[in-house]
């Protein structure tokens, strides 16, 4: 779409939306949010970009096929379940790690977070693929 307002706004908004989606992804374990909704937000950012600049630029920006992103997500999600095997626990057992960062806030790294990252990537990949296909089918 050839509009100066949209182009200018999109440049800022897309990066803001993507950052916000990661924030939503991370807070999701105990508060509203998580991989699914985060993925939806990220996909909406990419879709906004493709509306403003065209799907070929959006594809260029993604660098890999959306389905590969989804596949990587599925792989991470499955991997998060397998990691517990290193400690001899059953599939999908949650493992938690609290790194000492020397700051007051507590940062939690866990296999549920890895699973959520997987969900995030699946949603981003799948929705982006569908949206870009639909956009190109319209042209």
């Amino acid at each position: 779409m050839n509009s100066v307002i949209l182009h200018t706004a999109t440049r800022i908004l897309t990066s803001l939306i993507l950052m916000f989606s990661i924030y939503i992804l991370y807070r999701g374990h105990n508060e509203p949010g998580g991989g699914f909704i985060g993925g939806l937000i990220a996909a909406s950012g990419i879709i906004l970009y493709s509306v403003a600049f065209g799907s070929s630029w959006a594809r260029h920006g993604l660098r890999v096929s959306g389905l590969s992103v989804a596949g990587a997500g599925l792989f991470f999600a499955a991997l998060s379940g397998v990691l517990s095997g290193i400690q001899g626990q059953p599939f999908l057992t949650g493992l938690w790690y609290f790194p000492k960062l020397g700051i007051e806030a507590k940062v939690a790294l866990s296999t549920p977070l890895l699973f959520d990252i997987g969900v995030y990537l699946v949603v981003v990949g799948a929705l982006t693929t569908i949206a870009l296909e639909l956009e190109e089918a319209r042209d």
Binding site: S68, G71, A72, Q89, P90, F91, G94
Partner: protein, 509 residues
């Protein structure tokens, strides 16, 4: 390690599907991954089978959540046998697909969808949680809808819509039944349900819920009168896809039926058993009569598939250990034979360039080996000794006579005879008779030399068929091991106390 093998049927296909998606633009890599994945899957499940065979039932709690609350995976003789067959058929179809599936379907995602289907089937077999089972059913429906429409021909969309609509209705009914059962009992774990349901005060409500389960699973298993989606759709996709559907999808419905109606709704619910017997007889007869009336070879086979489900149902419906053993034996035989038949029919149709019995013919003259393979497997389906179809029919008829169910025995024998007729008709018309003049006139006399298949493709597609044909011969000649297996699985289903104590006894990792 054994705890991990329980998740093998789900984990390996999902990882393979993920890797296939990552290599989306490289069908050649996907092909290797698919073969490798199914081989690893088969190896792992065979190891699990050995463990269960020597050590008895094992269970594991996903995420280490204790039994009635978390999701349990259980491997008893029945579930591990079904999972092993899934993996072996998966491997066979993965090889067959090399020569059958073609570039277009491959680049549109055959491999990841196929692996997702295997994950759904494997999960449904291994899970010990009724809601989790529903989730795997959904995974199967989504993957199979993708597979059935792969290629995007008009006929496929038509078949696919019928397939997915009726399957979605079935899964919705299943979800409703699960919701009601959870509301009535407060638990979803099958072993826990087996303890709660018999002593529940409101048995009337539970019978109604059981009927809802029966309806949902019967639709999935293509039982009369809910079978019509199957012959309307199974002949439309590529042969590799219809072979895996024919081998596994209806069997998951049958498995779920057997599992739920032996563990949760036990034979005290006599009403459901009477329904099973009547539905079984009707399914057998309607299926085989439909098969005789059809022209497209794969539609003939689809109706025979439905008819076979009827055999399994009467075994379950008789409610005796012998009947159940016969049903399980028949299930194993049917999985092997049906996938082989769909595979070889696919080759025949591609060689002749036509799907119908009217246009086929002359294959025996040009491709005697293919014709012989079909004959062999078809006779096994019809129950000709010494092939594998003979023994389960003997067991089922014997079980029917032992309970004085003479009508059931008669129906089984009549169906067997009609199956023989239907298979002989396909053999005579598609393979034995001379090539019809109108086909020769239209396509030239050379059409049957290779059709649209190269020699290499023919070898790749016929290899799994030959292995499966050998399997049906071996099972037929050397029947005792499988009979022992079926009897043990049936015994575990009827005396299910060990299953319950394994799941609820807190034996985690």
């Amino acid at each position: 390690m054994i705890a991990w093998l329980l998740f093998w049927p789900v984990l390996i296909p999902i990882l393979t599907a993920a890797l296939c998606l990552i290599f989306w633009t490289r069908p050649d890599v996907q092909r290797t991954l698919s073969l490798l994945g199914t081989a690893v899957l088969a190896a792992g499940i065979l190891a699990l089978f050995r463990e269960v065979w020597t050590g008895g039932i094992v269970s594991v709690q996903a995420g280490d959540w204790p039994a009635p609350f978390g999701i349990t995976f259980v491997a008893d003789t029945l579930s591990v046998t079904m999972a092993a067959l899934t993996a072996l058929i998966g491997l066979g179809v993965a090889v067959y697909a090399l020569g059958d599936i073609g570039h277009v379907r491959e680049s549109n995602g055959f491999h990841p969808l196929f692996q997702a289907l295997l994950a759904g089937v494997g999960g449904a077999f291994m899970t010990g949680d009724i809601f989790n089972m529903y989730v795997w059913f959904e995974v199967m429906v989504i993957a199979s809808f993708g597979l059935i429409t792969l290629g995007g021909e008009r006929e496929q969309i038509d078949g696919g819509v019928k397939y997915v609509l009726l399957n979605l209705i079935a899964t919705t009914l299943l979800l409703m039944a699960i919701g009601l059962l959870y509301g009535a009992t407060g638990t979803l774990n099958l072993a826990d349900l087996a303890q709660v349901v018999p002593g529940h005060p409101d048995q009337g409500l539970l019978t109604a819920i059981a009927a809802l389960f029966l309806l949902a699973f019967a639709m999935k298993a293509a039982v009369f009168p809910l079978y019509f989606w199957l012959p309307a759709s199974y002949h439309t996709p590529a042969a590799a896809i219809s072979a895996v559907f024919a081998a596994l999808l209806t069997k998951v419905g049958v498995y779920a039926l057997i599992r739920v109606f032996s563990l949760v709704f036990t034979p005290t619910h006599e009403f459901t058993y009477a329904v099973l017997l009547v539905a079984g007889i009707a399914t057998m007869l309607v299926g085989v009569l439909g098969a005789i009336a059809q022209d497209d070879v794969r539609r003939v086979l689809s109706f025979n598939l439905v008819s076979g489900i009827g055999f399994i149902l009467i075994g379950v419906g008789l409610g005796t250990a012998l009947g159940l053993a016969g049903a399980l034996y028949y299930t194993v035989h049917h999985i092997i034979v049906m996938s082989a038949l769909f595979m070889v029919a696919g080759v025949a149709q591609r060689l002749a360039g036509a799907p119908g019995l009217n246009d086929l013919g002359g294959l025996y003259l040009k491709h005697p080996w293919i014709a012989l393979l079909f004959f062999f497997v078809a006779m096994s389906l019809a129950g000709v000794p010494p092939l594998s179809g003979f023994w389960p029919k003997v067991i089922l008829v014997k079980a029917a006579l032992a309970t004085d169910a003479y009508i059931v025995a008669a129906a089984a024998l009549v169906t067997g005879l009609l199956t023989l007729y239907s298979m002989a008709k396909v053999w005579a018309l598609a393979f034995w008779k001379a090539q019809p003049d109108h086909v020769v006139a239209a396509a030239g006399p050379g059409i049957l030399e290779t059709g649209e298949m190269s020699r290499g493709e023919q070898r790749l597609t016929l290899l799994p068929v030959a292995v499966l044909a050998l399997a049906t011969l071996l099972i037929g000649l050397y029947a005792q091991p499988l009979l022992t297996l079926s009897e043990r699985a049936a015994d575990e289903l009827i005396n299910h106390q060990p299953y319950i104590s394994t799941v609820l006894g807190g034996e985690g990792a």
